[in-house]
Amino acid sequence: MKRLALAAGALVLVYLAALPLVSRNTYLLASILILFIHIVLAQSYDIVGGHLGYLNLGHTTFFGLGTYVFSILIIRDHSPLVGAAAAVAAAILLALLMSYPFFRLRGAYFALATLGVILLFNRLAFNLEGLTQGTAGISLPPKDSLMQSYYLGFALTLGMLATSLAIARSRFGLALRTIREDEQVAETFGVNSYYYKAAALTLSGIFPSLMGCIFAWWQKYIHPDSTFGLEIALFPVAMAMLGGTGTIFGPLVGAVFLTGVEDLIWANVKVEYGKLTAYGVVLVLVAIVMPQGMIRTRWFRRPLRFLGLEEASV
């Protein structure tokens, strides 16, 4: 049965890879690119949020940081490769700097403190006008880059999913989950929790940062609210939790579901308010009824077990 799953998966991949070559539908391509962004954000969030058990609500700071570092270098006439490398370096630096003060906190304190980080960066992006051009945002030189961005995003998504799988199956992942279950016990087993926490955070930061570069490259315009805004900050968290936090591909499920809903339902319903309420109600219901996420429910487990992919929903 596993072969059936792999065959189906390969078909999907071929379809996605060939799409830009055969289709002129830029709206579809853009939607899928957004889906790629969401998948990477949700899966990378879950490395720390799900496997390690520390809810990094400020996760999209890495994303925003990537967009800004990349864009700032591009408009100063550096090559995109330099921009991307700098974005990754910045993300690593941020992760390491955050580790010392923040990992001393547990549970809810950590969650809200990391929320403070994204709020801080939001304000910094507005205030440090000399560097970020504040509310004006940064505009990159025009160039049709949808195809490039699509393939880069596709590649990054595959890399992310492979990394998620690798982490889940490796000793690294085991260490993270041990820390999640009981940090003190983990330490007595010889798990250097500080090292693993910092490593997990750093790893979780690299992917969104690169995705940020791709986002900036595609959109050609970034702004403090589109990159460090509160709404997009909470999106990966909602997607990961809805899909199933702490599983291998739970966030993927959540990302696909929410992006689908966003694209199919909200694109057609034009209301000024009400969308946030709907999300809020969904979150509340998930919290009370289904905190374990969609992928752990019967509707997902049975088919996954049938396909031999049960480990995806542990």
Binding site: L57, P101, G107, Y109, L124
Partner: protein, 291 residues
Amino acid sequence: MAAYLTQLVVLGILVGGLYALAAFGLSVIFGVSRVLNVAHGDLLLLGALLSYGLFFGIGMNPFVTMLVVIPVFLVFGFAIERSLVRPISNRSPHELLISSVLLTLGVSMVISDISAWATGAADKGIAYSLPSMQIGGLIFPSIRLIIMGVIIVFTLALSFYLKNSYVGRAMRAITQDREGAMIVGVNIPRVSMITFGIGTATAALAGSFYIMLFTTNPYLGIPLTVKYLAIIVLGGLGSLPGALVGGIALGVAEQLAGFYYGGRWQEPVAFILLILILLIRPQGLFGRAAA
């Protein structure tokens, strides 16, 4: 120059007392229910809105609105705890964390959106003027003095309640040692409900004062909550004097930052302060073990 600085500090203290009030509600809810209420800032804004509505709707004196706001939000807090928090309260610590973050985040979103829909997303404020008092070359806006006075009285009352009433002692017992409290027969769900009510009511009360001093818009909720978290971390969990000191420290820091660096740096001060405290003394000034 010194007079100017003193003026700023005094202003900071007056505003800080207000922050401390809201922060205390957050702290007490977390200590007893183990739920970090992301929607706390939104509850404050709801209190502000009720006050606003009463002021503009029936011309109630902004200070009198307090008498309506407190009972309404006490009950509202009971309702929230009973209906939303109670079902998740018996989960394992990690599941509780995930559930409570999701839950209160969802509540926050719903409150923001419904307020925006019902009242419009524009800023609102109550422009209520009283003549300022001048004492020895320093100007004290009367409103802030009165607010500070009410806050002091309220804080003393709350402190008395915590020390002497059964519920107050139960709240402290639960915060210190949950299992121990259960052993001596404390009805944790009931105390949890009352605590939520108290926490919500203090937030709403702070809100009704907030709208006299600042303008509010429906989307300020989460940044405010983070601000109050900064105060709790600064002062130490569950400590009423800690919240007060933390609140005042933040208030003063905000005023000084605004003066030296410009108004737009006032808001990030809370976040920067939070990070600094985490680096230097994570248990806060009056806290016990590390958070």
